[in-house]
Amino acid sequence: MPVPPEQGMKKELKRQQYLDLYYHMRLNRAVEDMMVKLFRQNKIVGGLYSSLGQEAISVGTAYALEKKDWLAPMIRNIGALLVKGVRPRDIFMQHMAKYDSPTKGKDGTSHFGDLDDLHIVSPISMLGDLIPVMTGVAMAGRYLGQKIVTMTWIGDGGSSTGVFHEGLNFAATQKAPFVLILENNLWAYSTPVRKQVPLENLADRAKAYGIDSYIVDGNDAVAVYSVAKEAVDRARAGEGPILIEAKSFRRMGHAQHDPAEYVPKEMRAYWEARDPIALYERFLSSEKLLDAKSKKEVEDKIDSLLAVEREFAENSPMPPPELAETGVYCTGDGCHKIRAKWERPIAEVTPPRSSVKAVWTVPGFGSGKASDGANAPIHFGDTHAPQHRVGNDTKSANGGKPAAKMAAKAAPKKTVKTAGASRKARR
């Protein structure tokens, strides 16, 4: 796999980018704070999830995407939706199951999408399902010549689902332009990560697919953004899917109902002291990017925005009962016109130009069917041939011991090339 493009890590953030990250983190938190209020006022339907303390991940990763790119949020990615352009009112109304919400009250929380404009795929509750779906979007985008990247998120807990494996493996075989953010917040509901995943670093999941991965401090907005930008650039450049483990902590319970007594209080205290917004504010002011006045401006802007958005949301009616009966099926062109947005010449994929020989070529071997141009028949691609001599008893040279080697030995350099290392090289 090629070396990561240097510019990914070298890229300085522009002043506006720093401020954008700040604004969206603040907005993310403010939107969720307001929803906690609404929840306490019994205006939220169903459960309410929180991304408190994880805002840098949602915001920093989504900010690395372009407008044409696609994302699919999970429950703790309100920040990503805001960055992508979703209005707070839509988020409020989704949670309040209002008629003017994107799903008209048919679904709630972050379960909504926008195929045409914002390029957002709605999640479902079943963890992991978005991974093959966003792989498919990435493949379709490539096929249509759109040069897009797709992104979704998964939790430490969700990384144990079968569909995580099937999806990421498929993405890897297809080299799909797909970036997966693994939000390791140390807990899946009440279960600590070590009870679900026997790994120190969940980024190691990537090794099962031969794809590159990064580990990033999920409470460091700039770090998250920079890594995500590099990953998005690399995915767009055709390097295949990339996994980013963002390490952080779920500061609230699984949802509002859960006091999370199972979390050691020292652990919570540790992370509360590392609040991503507080850390970022300290950084911004030390860099003279933020002062009390500009901070106040951001706060005022958000306050007045959310006041309007909340009012709109609260004024929206509940959906009329009969709406429940409608919309199970697309009724045809009057309902949706399905059309692919081609950004490459259709002729490239239309016969007879696309004709190929239906033949496998396996590195090191001739091809099947009309096989002819074979190379030297080696064992297995570029792996060393296994030893031909079988073992015998200890008195002889080979010792009856297996011609075995550990996996880690056999393919050492493949995924090793670190952002840390390239940073060092550049210093």
Binding site: A97, G105, S125, S190, T191, Y262, M318, P319, A324, G327
Partner: protein, 339 residues
């Protein structure tokens, strides 16, 4: 939706204490685990947290980490591992955090677990249980009634109780059964209904329906939360002089045809109420059975009251419209009675 009221065994009062539906389930697991060290519990957050609905609260403290196992988020692994355990003589209980996630293990259940006894004589004594059903604004992914997928799968047994008494007795029976049993717990009932549960050990036989209310004008067949809806409707009907006999199926596979047929032969009319979506719901199966075995006894058509053929919508206004309720049952029953 249901009224908060749970009948005792066969509708009669027992001399036990009043417990919630949820407490009855917890008691069943506790007592079975006490009785038999081969019984273990597995699922997501069932241990330290005691389950998303606290159904297994206290079990870890009592039985330890080996017998109360917090798993990764891997429904196929839970079911598969339980099946393997059952081959060794254990009797695992698997919790699906919400029953909606059972479809993530659909292959394991329908192919591995269900077919083993028939194909290679391997019994799989295991229970798969979890909170199901709607009415609590859980939305399209936390309100499932997946019973028909499994009623249509030979090799499984399917239970969907409506009272604390039955929940406890049937769950105990399920644990002791030599077959894989799916046990659905309607979450609307968890804390809303209470009922009497006797002090000592008892089981309720799998495969037996029960007449919850006697009547002569028509038979209303239902189960789970809709049982209570049906009883509520029956009360209202009685005020108009219509005496509905109400049957609680309790077990959906195998179906208790005898109880159904006896009642329909008496009342000559049959209404089926289920919260599951209409097309392909169990009312169809009952319709076919009535054609086969009670065609002459029917003085009117079998009538269905069921949920809409849609996903479960989120907004309360929509979900209410989606679900059957006592008014809908009342009207349908009244019309049928007058047929």
């Amino acid at each position: 939706m249901p009224k908060a009221n749970g009948a005792g065994p066969n509708g009669s009062a027992s001399d036990g204490t009043q417990v919630t539906f949820l407490e009855a389930i917890k008691q069943a697991m506790f007592e079975e685990m006490e009785r038999d060290p081969a019984v273990i519990l597995m699922g997501e957050d069932v241990g330290v947290y005691g389950g998303a609905f606290k159904t297994s609260e206290g079990l870890l403290e009592r039985f330890g980490w080996e017998r109360v196992i917090d798993t990764p988020i891997s429904e196929s692994a839970i079911i598969g591992a339980a099946c393997g355990m059952s081959y060794c003589g254990l009797r695992p209980i698997c919790e699906m955090q919400f029953i909606d996630f059972i479809v993530c293990a659909f292959n394991q259940i329908t192919n591995f677990v269900a077919k083993g006894h028939y194909l290679w004589n391997a019994p799989a004594p295991m229970v798969i249980r979890g909170p199901s059903g709607g009415g609590v604004h859980g939305g399209p992914f936390h309100s499932a009634n997946p019973e028909m997928y499994f009623v249509h799968t030979p090799g499984l047994k399917v239970i969907y109780p409506s009272t604390p008494y039955d929940a406890k007795g049937l769950l105990k029976a399920a644990v002791r059964d030599n077959n894989p049993v799916l046990f659905f717990e309607h979450k609307f009932l968890y804390r809303r209904i209470k009922g009497e549960v006797p002090a000592g050990d008892y089981t309720v036989p799998i495969g037996k329906a029960v007449v919850r209310r006697e009547g002569k004008h028509l038979t209303i067949i239902s189960y789970a939360a809709m049982m209570h809806t049906s009883l509520e409707a029956a009360d209202a009907l009685a005020k108009e002089g219509i005496e509905a006999e109400v049957i609680d199926l309790r077990t959906l596979l195998p179906l208790d045809e005898e109880t159904i047929l006896n009642s329909v032969k008496k009342t000559n009319k049959c209404l089926v109420v289920h919260e599951d979506t209409r097309t392909g719901g169990i009312a169809g199966e009952i319709a076919a059975i009535l054609f086969e075995k009670a065609f002459h006894d029917l003085d009117g058509p079998l009538v269905r009251v069921a949920s809409l053929d849609t996903p479960v919508p989120y907004a309360p206004t929509l979900e209410e419209h989606f679900l059957p309720n006592a008014k809908k049952v009342f009207s349908a029953a009244k019309e049928l009675a007058r047929y």
